[in-house]
């Protein structure tokens, strides 16, 4: 069912006779569209392209007076980063934290979203809003209480501690996006299940959850990306555990920025994320297409 809406509907055949001008416009439209889409792609790519070229330059070339588009690429920065080895620790920590955060956020967020979307109860909208509001507090005010709480409970500098913090940050987005997907499901789904004698939980678990799988994949990727790139809490709540954003920030030093190592690490760390996104990208778009079941 989901596949049906995946095949988008390009340039439909128009049944009316067309004037030559309109015909020309219709013929050019796809190219104009393509031009805009690729222009936007270049806008998205250019800073990353520039970062990537810096990772292949000596610092003296990276800062050159006339920006150098053509240069002799060197791999020293990559070799230095790989040889130093810290990058693998950052990568490992980030992977553990981001995957665990995603799993826990989904496990906690999906039931919440389901109930908020499908069941009327007193305070439903207030509860939903409270969930949303947990993302609103500016972190500056939260840092000290959070830190004290973590030191007291022994969560400081532990994987579970960091995962819990990331879950708290991401839960609202999981709940609200999943809520949207569940709302688009027809209520006949559960009603039919109840007729067959299913319990509330079975209706959720066996009927709605499978249909929502693509949506879950989409939210999973967003939650993964948000956790992967989270900086402030990862910084304050850890000492020894270092995630990628915190680790990479250490290339920005006092009176020196290690451009080569910073850019090479950033490019390296883009690879696993891209692989993750690439594998899930079909689900990603399909996942946001829950209306397919209508």
């Amino acid at each position: 069912m989901a596949e049906m809406t995946m095949t988008s509907s390009p340039d439909r055949v128009n049944l009316r006779p067309l004037s030559p001008a309109t015909r020309l416009a219709r013929a050019l439209a796809p190219w104009a569209r393509r031009l805009i889409l690729w222009a936007f792609a270049i806008w998205c790519l250019f800073p990353i392209y520039w970062l990537a070229t810096m990772s292949l330059k000596r610092q003296v070339d990276a800062m050159a007076r006339t920006p150098r588009f053509w240069f002799q690429p060197i791999w020293d920065n990559y070799l230095a980063v790989i040889k130093a080895g810290d990058i693998w620790n950052y990568f490992g920590s980030s992977l553990i934290v981001a995957l665990a955060t995603t799993a826990v956020a989904l496990a906690l967020g999906i039931p919440t979203a389901y109930v908020l979307a499908r069941y009327r109860f007193r305070g439903n909208s207030d509860f939903g809003f409270w969930i949303l509001s947990t993302r609103m507090t500016p972190p500056v005010a939260m840092l000290i209480p959070f830190f004290v709480l973590y030191v007291r409970t022994g969560l400081m500098d532990t994987y579970p501690g960091l995962v819990i913090a990331h879950v708290a940050i991401n839960l609202s987005i999981v709940v609200w996006l999943m809520k949207g997907f569940f709302e688009d499901l027809p209520s006949e789904l559960e009603e039919a299940a109840f007729m067959d004698g299913a319990t509330y939980f079975q209706a959720f678990r066996q009927i709605c959850l499978p249909v929502a799988l693509p949506g879950i994949a989409a939210v999973a990727i967003l939650s993964f990306l948000f956790s992967w790139n989270e900086f402030l809490f990862s910084l304050v709540l850890t000492n020894e555990i270092r995630t990628v954003p915190v680790g990479l920030y250490s290339f920005v030093g006092y009176q020196q920025v290690r451009w080569g190592e910073l850019s090479a690490s950033a490019v390296l760390m883009l690879v696993p994320v891209l692989a993750f996104v690439f594998i899930f990208q079909k689900q990603l778009v399909r996942g946001l297409t829950m209306g397919a079941t209508k």
Partner: protein, 297 residues
């Protein structure tokens, strides 16, 4: 019978909500209460033993300082313009992408890159690219025969540049949700309108956009909440300058809390930001009626 069914329904709802509630309550309510407490004191990390209750003193000081109103205005301006731009770009590109047939998956992957790259690396790259003398942006302008820009130099240009960077990073978020919404749309009403001879623009604005709105509303809310708290981009690129032209509320809170160590005052700023966000999102969500569950079980 009836009451036992109601009981099991209530128990189900409770069980489904409990885990997330416990976690969020523990991790956000406690810090929130502590922050409100701080904001009513003169708590400073430089004099941790001299803590005293001063009532609304911090709030009164805040509301009577021009620094605060200036920061509030910049923050609102930044949020509205940035999210507006991202919305237009994100929805526009998503709509075009919806009809595209070639290299769609490559395009999708490229559009996700700005959200995937480690932010610190991207922001420092922008700082290099914005450099008026060595940066590649001015180099490109000059090769095209255009005048070099002082990207972060004047109050207006600095804000424009910051909005550009924020939009570079976050348009993909709106684009992603809009693309999903588009793919999910019921095509029937669109087809009917097309048969009635409506042009593509009319169909988009009169039919597609309203149907897309529930999706976009969630995207707008989250993007606005995050844009209101934007920190790294501003901190690295302008540090609030020139003068105080880009010193937003969150930057002000950081200065007061982390640099000046006046935690009470910083907490007051944070609480004010929280209240503004709550009021604004309540108004918005009530208006778009996103609260009510649609299928009522």
């Amino acid at each position: 019978m009836r009451s036992s069914a109601a009981r099991s329904r209530n128990r189900f709802i409770l069980l489904m909500l409990a885990p997330a509630t416990v976690l969020l309550a523990g991790l956000t309510l406690i810090p929130f209460v502590v922050s409100v407490g701080f904001s009513l004191t003169n708590y400073s990390l430089t004099a941790p033993n001299d803590i005293a209750f001063i009532g609304l003193g911090n709030y009164l000081a805040l509301f009577s300082s021009s620094e605060f109103w200036n920061a509030a205005w910049i923050t609102v301006l930044f949020t509205v313009v940035a999210v507006g731009l991202q919305l237009v770009l994100g929805v526009g590109i998503a709509a075009l992408l919806h009809h595209e047939t070639r290299a769609v998956s490559a395009l999708r992957l490229i559009y996700l890159l700005p959200m995937a790259i480690t932010p610190v690396a991207a922001v420092f790259t922008f700082r290099m690219m914005f450099n008026p003398t060595l940066g590649v942006f001015n180099y490109i302008l000059k090769t095209m025969g255009l005048p070099a820009q002082d990207w972060l130099g004047s109050p207006t240009m600095a804000l424009v540049s910051l909005i550009l960077v924020d939009s570079w990073q976050w348009t993909p978020f709106i684009l992603l949700i809009a693309a999903g919404g588009l793919a999910a749309l019921d095509e029937e009403p669109l087809e009917a309108a097309r048969m009635d001879g409506a042009g593509p623009m009319a169909i988009f604005f009169q039919h597609t956009l309203p149907m897309l709105f529930p999706y976009l509303a969630v995207a707008i809310v989250f993007r606005s909440i995050d844009a209101f708290k934007t920190f790294d981009i501003i901190f690295v690129l302008t540090n609030g300058g020139p003068g105080v032209a880009t010193r937003t509320l969150n930057l002000l809170a950081y200065k007061q809390g982390i640099e000046f160590l006046s935690m009470g005052y910083a907490a007051a700023i944070a609480i004010v930001m929280l209240i503004v966000t709550i009021v604004a999102s309540q108004l918005f969500l009530r208006r778009v009626d996103l609260f009510k569950p649609k299928a009522a079980l």
